[in-house]
């Protein structure tokens, strides 16, 4: 008995931004921070807990280790990648409380956005893009980069997946999917340095029923679902949880609906934007579920997906909100100077409850709207 108690590894105490948690040995700083949750958690663009060997590349999760451990309380001289550094007992980590970290992270965000096309208005990932969130959180307005951005040709990876290399931040997640989920790996990184690019050798389709998962792991809009491309903005769709008996995968998915139409099928994501696990197994879904089953009748619908209230995706859930009243005319004694050009006013976009339309908005909707108001 006594031996057994001795064998059980003692939990390690780690302090992150003055919050102490106990974690089992072998836990990374990032996982410990995720246990705390909230702002303390460093952002991670390349690390994916379900993919072996991922992480350490993007450098957004850099943290400062102010004390290595109780046994050796010296600070680590360099910032460390929290996703690949294991905690030690008595380690003191600084994330949001460290100016060094904040500065380095802003630097990394600037580097990541340096050659990113910032084509969010036409990018299918907009609204659920990790780089977008990261940019809003840590980036600066404007760029100091005065040169042409690098560009690549678009490439098809099989008939259902499109690779848009311009947007890629080389997180390597999709290469790990190709490596660990599919049997014959023909997908990897070609070239090096700032001309490194994800490719299939050479423009060869990935012939595997699980290849679609690389769309889900892509943190940006580099890999997109061709059955969903330009169909709709993600914040106009309603995500619902659904399942079916699938002989190949877990069959647990999120359906992205507009009206009765299923526009897209993805695996379910957890709060860190990663695929959910069921009984300790990651819930990867097969291409049949993802690309073929596009009718609500194919699925047993469980109910609406819980979406973070701050996410733009939950926009569609708050209908009939009152716009704040313009007060400029009142305070300027009836004068109405054109101070700002209000894009919503001109486009009249906001006059229509887009989320209540059964399908995509067309010019007909706007015509009706403007004739109605006149």
């Amino acid at each position: 008995m006594a031996d057994e108690i001795k064998k059980a590894p003692a939990p390690l105490k780690v302090t992150i931004d003055n919050i102490t948690v106990e974690v089992p040995a072998g836990t990374t700083i990032l996982k410990a921070a995720r246990q705390i949750g909230g702002e303390v958690t460093p952002p991670a663009m390349c690390y994916y807990s379900k993919l072996e060997g991922s992480g350490g590349k993007c450098r957004t999760c850099l943290v400062e280790v102010a004390a290595g451990s109780t046994a050796d309380p010296r600070p680590m001289p360099k910032l460390v990648a929290s996703c690949r550094t294991n905690v030690m007992d008595g380690m003191v980590v600084k994330n949001i409380t460290s100016e060094r970290v904040q500065e380095a992270r802003a630097g990394v965000v600037e580097f990541l956005l340096l050659n990113h096309p910032l084509d969010c208005p036409v990018c299918d990932q907009a609204g659920e893009c990790h780089l977008q969130d990261l940019g809003y959180q840590h980036g600066k307005e404007g760029t100091r980069y005065q040169f042409e951005r690098r560009t690549f040709e678009k490439e098809d990876i099989g008939p259902k997946i499109q690779l848009h290399m311009n947007r890629c931040i080389l997180c390597y997640r999709c290469t790990y999917v190709a490596d660990q989920l599919t049997d014959c790996r023909v997908h990897g990184v070609l070239d090096r340095g700032d001309h490194a690019n994800i490719s299939t050798h050479i423009s060869k389709a990935i012939d595997s029923n699980f290849s679609g998962n690389m769309i889900d792991v892509c943190p940006v809009g580099a890999l997109t679902d061709k059955t969903f491309r330009f169909k709709n903005r993600v914040w106009f769709t309603k995500p619902v949880d659904a399942h079916r008996d699938c002989p190949e995968c877990c069959g647990k998915v999120t359906l992205w609906q507009r009206g009765d139409e299923v526009l897209r099928v993805t695996a379910r994501k957890d709060e860190w934007g990663e695929i959910q696990s069921y009984d300790g197994k990651p819930g990867w879904i097969c291409n049949t579920c993802r690309f073929e089953k596009k009718a609500a009748a194919d699925w047993v619908i469980e109910g609406p997906t819980v979406v973070n209230r701050h996410s733009v995706i939950s926009q569609g859930h708050y209908q009939g909100m009152q716009m704040p009243k313009e007060t400029i005319q009142d305070v300027m004694s009836g004068l109405n100077p054109r101070l700002l050009m209000d894009i919503h006013d001109i486009s009249e976009v906001n006059k229509i409850e887009l989320s209540q339309l059964p399908g995509a908005a067309t010019s007909a909707n706007y015509k009706n709207e403007s004739t109605k108001s006149e």
């Binding site: 500065e103 340096l114 100091r144 080389l170």
Partner: protein, 451 residues
């Protein structure tokens, strides 16, 4: 004249062949080590010698070897890093080309000390002809019983294999080298775990520079303590310096680390001064990655002492007023050289050689190159110099491997010491196209004497 340990016999006719090498006393160290010493005693001799890694970082070799974990039933590997790609460094090439058996001899002894039955030489692909020389030397060593099974009846087996790289600077980084050796894309691994714990094929591995391993031969022959008597302070033994640039006698020199930088540049025994009576402007003392120094800081430290050619003295003053011994690539620039152009050339190299794995290095190196190109071609803007400083600061220390640091340091040092030259390029864009900035005050207030 300083003592020579490595290149002493390099110019004997046919020293490349086994017979001549053996006649000149070759493979004595293997006999001594395998017959009279245990592996741990060999490591102790290396520790006593105070030998520091000759590849660039200068980490004590004996200590590095003692970190090697020795779990039961798991093979250990010795990998010799001959991927010498640092601009300005060509000492290993010289050593391997002229006296290949010295490396093989050092490798047998080192493999014995580390318990490596399969040792590798990872050589850069551009050294194609040297790989043949090494393979021939290995073949000869096999025929004479210095490699293979049960060497000298000691029960120790060892084989050496030569692996050619494919022309990537990054594969000189030890973990990228191991990845490449395993047949994968040469991306550096994230440390920890260090190669001493999990290296080649997940086994404990020691990765050492060619010169470090070759230095094992004199260390074992003469004993670690004798070896430690050569040199100064913690810079023991001899070091190969590959000198190039604006000097009369470029080439590889073996120094015993007791001479001053001034003597090294101006003495006829070494570089032989600067041609055409020009003046010294700047120098990169340890290969392209280390900070550049202007003439006045190169010859004298900030304290006013003469700067010596050894690890401590070259690093004296930190990066503010010092540099590093690095890999021994000694690049001298005279007063007709343009520091901006030179920094651009280095930035271009690092952009081209970045592996593209981690974002600061992948994006930052390209950005720096473009800004430096603008500065050099007269399109620079006043904010560019501060921008460059900010970019290098955000790359340094935030990358997976030291290539990011190596790309950042030359830019940082050039701006630190030659800021007025950069500013002159911005303020006089047209003039900067026609002439160089010249020596200015970089050589003040030193009087240059010819030894």
């Amino acid at each position: 004249m300083g003592r020579k340990l490595l290149l002493e016999k390099a110019h004997i006719e046919n020293i490349r062949s086994y017979e001549v090498y053996r006649k000149e006393g070759g493979y004595r160290s293997v006999e001594k080590a395998l017959k009279t010493l245990t592996p741990d005693q060999v490591t102790d001799e290396v520790k006593k010698s105070g030998l520091r890694g000759r590849g660039g970082a200068g980490f004590p070799t004996g200590m590095k070897w003692s970190f090697l974990t020795k779990p039961e039933g798991v093979p250990r590997y010795l990998v010799v890093n001959a991927d010498e790609s640092e601009p300005g460094t060509f000492k290993d090439r010289y050593l391997m080309e002229f006296i290949p058996h010295l490396l093989i001899e050092g490798m047998v002894t080192s493999s014995y000390a580390l318990g490596s039955n399969r040792s590798y030489i990872y050589i850069r692909g551009e050294y194609a002809w040297i790989a043949h020389i090494l393979e021939q030397a290995i073949e000869e060593a096999h025929q004479h019983g210095w490699l293979g099974k049960n060497i000298l009846g000691s029960g120790f087996d060892c084989n050496i294999y030569v692996q050619r790289g494919a022309g990537a600077y990054i594969c000189g980084e030890e973990t990228a080298l191991l990845e490449s050796l395993e047949g994968k894309r040469g991306n550096p691994r994230i440390k920890p775990p260090f190669p001493a714990v999990k290296g080649l094929w997940g086994c404990p591995t020691a990765v050492n520079n060619v010169e470090t391993i070759a230095a094992l031969v004199p260390i074992i022959n003469e004993g670690g303590e004798e070896y430690a008597k050569i040199g100064m302070g913690k810079s023991t033994g001899t070091k190969l310096i590959s000198a190039c640039g604006n000097i009369n006698k470029p080439g590889v020199y073996e120094i015993d680390m007791t001479i001053s930088v001034e003597e090294f540049i101006y003495s006829d025994e070494y570089c032989g001064g600067i041609p055409q009576g020009k003046k010294l402007k700047a120098c990169i003392p340890g290969g392209s990655s280390v900070p550049i120094l202007p003439a006045n800081l190169l010859l004298k430290t900030a304290k006013g002492e003469a700067r010596m050619m050894n690890y401590e003295s070259l690093a004296d003053g930190g990066f503010a007023t010092g540099s590093m011994m690095g890999s021994g690539g000694f690049i001298v620039m005279d007063d007709t050289q343009c520091v901006v152009k030179h920094t651009y050339t280095l930035a271009r190299f690092y952009r081209h050689e970045s592996c593209g794995q981690c974002s600061p290095c992948r994006e930052g190196t390209g950005w720096m190159e473009k800004i430096l190109w603008n500065l050099e071609t007269g399109k620079g803007r006043s904010g560019d110099i501060d921008l460059l400083w900010d970019i290098q600061r955000k790359i340094e220390g935030n990358t997976i491997c030291p290539l990011g640091d190596a790309a950042a340091w030359p830019v940082a040092a050039a701006i630190r010491h030659f800021r007025d030259e950069f500013e002159w390029h911005v303020t006089h864009p047209e003039e900067a196209q026609k002439r160089n900035y010249g020596l200015a005050h970089y050589a003040d207030p030193l009087s240059v004497s010819v030894a």
